[in-house]
């Protein structure tokens, strides 16, 4: 007579296998992937330093500021000085050129633009961000460079040629100046997109509070929007700077190539990234190659610095604004 014994609890295997094989496998494999991705950065750093070793051991840290680059066998000498100069100058001026335009566009899109303009202009900015650097470089060589040379460079040189910055116009438009303009165009979309999101992210009750006092729109932007977005904008600028420093292809297409430091913006030159790209096929001796890779080490260090600074700013701003929201006692 089968009867249900109600005094005994239903037996189910609660004890026994607590850990599923599938869980272990998935977590293990996925964890491995995550570890690998994290290790990748370290691997990159290590491999790049390793490749530069012959040059590092030969020149040490003075490589960084020595202005020389002579691959001729028998008189080989290498140094990063002129290219570091090129990187700093082009990136700095590109940021200087792009920032007011980027903030202007971002303010325009977030505060001023009538609705029917917003969508197409935003799309245009995003489209520009999607253009590959080699295409911008192509446009730079064939369209921008000659145009800059015949219009702006000649004009600036004839009018203000006594300022060392404005030397003789370059041949065919390949110059630091063209590279600066190209870089500015390339970082404009990034900086303006991030800025626009920051401006849109200012809580609208803060803006209302300011306007209700009887301030004008500009006074509200200056007093509430800018201070609120300040940290994020700084991070955006640094990201743009990092992008400009690391751009190799478009820069090498328009910068002309040169080893020595000239003060004129219209002279030819090279940046760390563009020098590497320019010499990739030409380098033969081990020292030459190692020195090129040493340039890469310096570039990597600069990029990491910019990237980590930007990240740090973003995280501390997020914390600050987190306090803002949850401030009520």
């Amino acid at each position: 007579m089968a009867s249900v014994d109600v005094t005994q609890p239903a037996r189910r295997p609660f004890s026994g296998r607590r850990v599923h094989l599938g869980d272990v496998l998935l977590q293990g494999v996925a964890g491995l992937a995550a570890a690998g991705a994290s290790a990748l950065v370290l691997l990159i750093a290590w491999k790049v330093v390793d490749g530069a070793r012959p040059s590092i051991s030969k020149y040490g840290i003075s490589f960084v500021w020595h202005v020389v680059w002579n691959p001729v066998v028998g008189r080989e000498a290498y140094g990063a000085g002129s290219f570091l100069f090129g990187t700093v100058i082009t990136s700095f001026f590109a940021l200087l050129l792009a920032t007011p335009l980027a903030i202007g566009i971002a303010l325009f899109l977030s505060e001023l633009a009538p609705n029917w303009i917003k969508a197409p202009v935003t799309a245009l900015v995003e489209m520009l961000a999607a253009v590959p650097s080699v295409v911008i470089g192509l446009w730079g060589i064939l369209v921008l460079g000659p145009a800059l040379r015949s219009h702006i460079e000649t004009w600036l040189h004839s009018g203000l040629g006594w300022i060392p910055l404005f030397g003789a116009p370059s041949a065919a438009g390949a110059s630091l100046f063209t590279a600066i303009v190209v870089l500015a165009i390339m970082i404009l979309p990034i900086v303006s997109s991030i800025s626009r999101e920051l401006f849109l992210g200012v809580p609208h009750e803060l803006k209302e509070g300011a306007l209700a006092l009887g301030t004008t729109r500009w006074e509200m932007v200056r007093g509430v929007v800018f201070p609120y977005a300040r940290g994020g904008i700084a991070a955006a600028l640094i990201l743009g700077l990092g992008r400009a420093m690391g751009e190799a292809i478009a820069v090498t297409q328009v910068i002309g190539g040169g080893v020595f430091i000239h003060w004129s913006l219209f002279s030819q030159g090279d940046t760390l990234a563009s020098k590497i790209a320019a010499e990739y096929q030409g380098a033969t001796s081990n020292l030459d190659i190692a020195s090129l890779i040493y340039l890469g080490v310096i570039l990597l260090a600069l990029s990491l610095l910019a990237n980590l600074t930007a990240q740090w700013i973003v995280r501390s701003v997020a914390r600050q604004h987190g306090v803002t929201r949850g401030g009520h006692a």
């Binding site: 991705a37 990159i44 080699v134 292809i249």
Partner: protein, 298 residues
């Protein structure tokens, strides 16, 4: 639009006219900056589109290049288009699974401290310049082990894609509501099964969008391929164990040439590349919209 000052008791004018003027000035400056920026952007896009369109012809895709050709024999960049398809394809196959796995680990398993640390590592990886990635893969794979190849080039591109794919996948996984996970776990289904059969399918739309965007971005990258897949011949090859030509690299080389016929081909190739990227971006956006609607409708 003349402004009307309120007059009467307790009405204040203060420095209102001057403040209004400053406001108007700032407005004008913002409009001006926007117009300049729009003009530049528009000019770039228009410039490339116009020249590219006029040079466009079918030979570009069907005919291989003829080096040192002094005749007007039709030539194109068929090797580059084939190579790009192969290399970008392989890169996607490399980056996608790893990216998804990383995202799964971070979102479903990892404690907060590890999530932070790996997040930082991913962001740092995203900031490494493409040319440094090229040097890295060169040192890692090309120098010792047998020269350039399409696969090594694909690996370099995959390193570029990885942080992007991982980030977008994390965001999409985070959007999957926890109630779904709890429902599955509550039924006694183990976590691995929940993740693979419930969470992941729900996130597929977003993952697809992110992948398309990553492909669009990486199809135009030149620098990493300089050291890994650049020593190529003119013949069209689909074999990734050899170095393959790619479209961006071809444009790069053609742009440095003094021959205007080469420039023409460069513009045409640039146009095709741009159109591809534009179509990919629009597709990604359409996918994202459709995905959002599907989830909202469910």
């Amino acid at each position: 639009m003349s402004a009307h000052d309120l007059a009467g008791p307790a009405m204040r004018i203060d420095r209102l006219p001057r403040r209004r003027a400053v406001n108007r000035l700032m407005e004008l400056i913002a409009w001006l900056a926007a117009l300049i920026a729009i003009a530049i952007l528009g000019f770039v896009v228009y410039s490339v589109a116009r020249r590219g369109w006029s040079e466009l012809n079918l030979n570009l895709i069907t005919k291989p290049p003829i080096p040192f050709s002094f005749t007007n024999a039709p030539q194109g960049l068929s090797n580059a288009f084939a190579g790009t398809l192969v290399i970008v394809g392989i890169a996607t196959l490399m980056a996608l699974p790893v990216g998804i796995l990383v995202a799964i680990y971070l979102n479903e398993f990892a404690p907060a401290s590890i999530r932070n640390a790996v997040g930082i590592a991913l962001d740092v990886l995203a900031g490494v310049p493409a040319i440094v990635i090229g040097i890295f893969v060169y040192g890692l794979l090309v120098v010792g082990g047998g020269g350039q190849s399409g696969i090594k080039g694909a690996f370099a591109l995959a390193c570029l894609m990885l942080p992007f794919v991982a980030r977008t996948t994390i965001e999409v996984l985070a959007l999957v509501p926890n109630s779904l996970r709890e429902a599955s776990l509550g039924l006694g289904i183990p976590q691995w099964r929940t993740t693979l059969s419930i969470v992941l399918p729900r996130a597929i739309g977003g993952i697809l969008t992110g992948t398309v965007l990553a492909v669009a971005r990486v199809a135009g990258e030149t620098a990493p391929l300089l050291f890994t897949s650049s020593l190529v011949g003119p013949q069209t090859s689909w074999n990734p164990t050899h170095a393959l030509q790619t479209v961006p690299l071809a444009i790069f080389e053609l742009s440095e040439s003094p021959d205007p016929k080469d420039h023409a081909r460069a513009w045409a190739a640039a146009f095709v590349l741009l159109v591809f990227i534009l179509v990919a971006s629009l597709t990604a956006r359409w996918l994202a919209m459709r995905n959002a609607r599907k989830i909202a409708g469910r």
